[in-house]
């Protein structure tokens, strides 16, 4: 079990290796990447802002919850912050489990809770030169 907020590219192969264990029959890796369209507009990159100390604590809580709910210690997650280009990995989660359902469910739980709870914000940079905080789209 491990988690981190990082400022460097995420080494996803290292995360997969980290959850390997002889008791595991299944491993699931989830990665979120910067994609080229957001609500129909062409995107050139994303800047991630974070309340880093709180985000680190919250991500650790989420990962610990996943290990307890799904009965495996082999869950790791990293969320990157800063400026990311198209195709770069913003978040990666690896889960190892004796059974495939547990591996899928643990990885899915962590990304869903990240979306709901992690104090991280993205500003989309559009190819027309404008930029917009995703949070600001929510009606005040």
């Amino acid at each position: 079990m491990r988690s981190a907020i990082v400022h460097h590219p995420i080494d996803v192969a290292a995360l997969v290796d980290e959850v390997a264990a002889s008791a595991n029959g299944a491993t699931v890796l989830f990665t979120g990447t910067v994609r080229d369209l957001s609500e129909g507009r062409a995107v050139s990159g994303i800047d991630y802002d974070a309340y880093e100390t709180m985000a680190a604590e919250e991500l650790a809580r989420i990962v610990r919850e996943a290990t307890e709910r799904f009965g495996t210690p082999h869950v790791v997650a990293e969320h990157r912050v800063g400026s990311l280009a198209l195709g770069e990995v913003s978040v990666a989660i690896a889960a190892g489990h004796p059974r495939r359902a547990g591996a899928f469910d643990a990885a899915r739980y962590v990304i869903e809770e990240i979306k709901l709870r992690l104090p991280v914000w993205k500003q989309e940079l559009f190819t027309d030169g404008t930029r917009e905080w995703v949070d600001a789209r929510v009606t005040p």
Partner: protein, 79 residues
């Protein structure tokens, strides 16, 4: 009392700073701090935020102390 409040994302951009000081009375609550921040935003079209006290989301009635670590939490958008 004077509180230093951390800002992020659209709130940091709109107020032009990573943190601001707000003045609230003794016995102030998280709701009072949010009201003071809304006044500071001066009508800028910002998303309604929550408040974190010592890195935990607070309810409107939770008390705030001068020594607390306080932060504005706009609707999160990670992943």
């Amino acid at each position: 009392m004077t509180l230093r409040v951390m800002l992020f994302a659209s709130w940091a951009d709109a107020l032009g700073a990573r943190s601001v000081e707000v003045e609230v009375g003794e016995g102030a609550t998280a709701g009072d701090v949010l009201a003071a921040l809304a006044a500071r935003a001066n009508g800028a079209p910002l998303p309604r935020p929550a408040l974190a006290i010592n890195r935990q989301l607070a309810r409107a009635g939770d008390p705030v102390r001068a020594a607390d670590e306080i932060a504005v939490i706009p609707p999160v958008a990670g992943g």
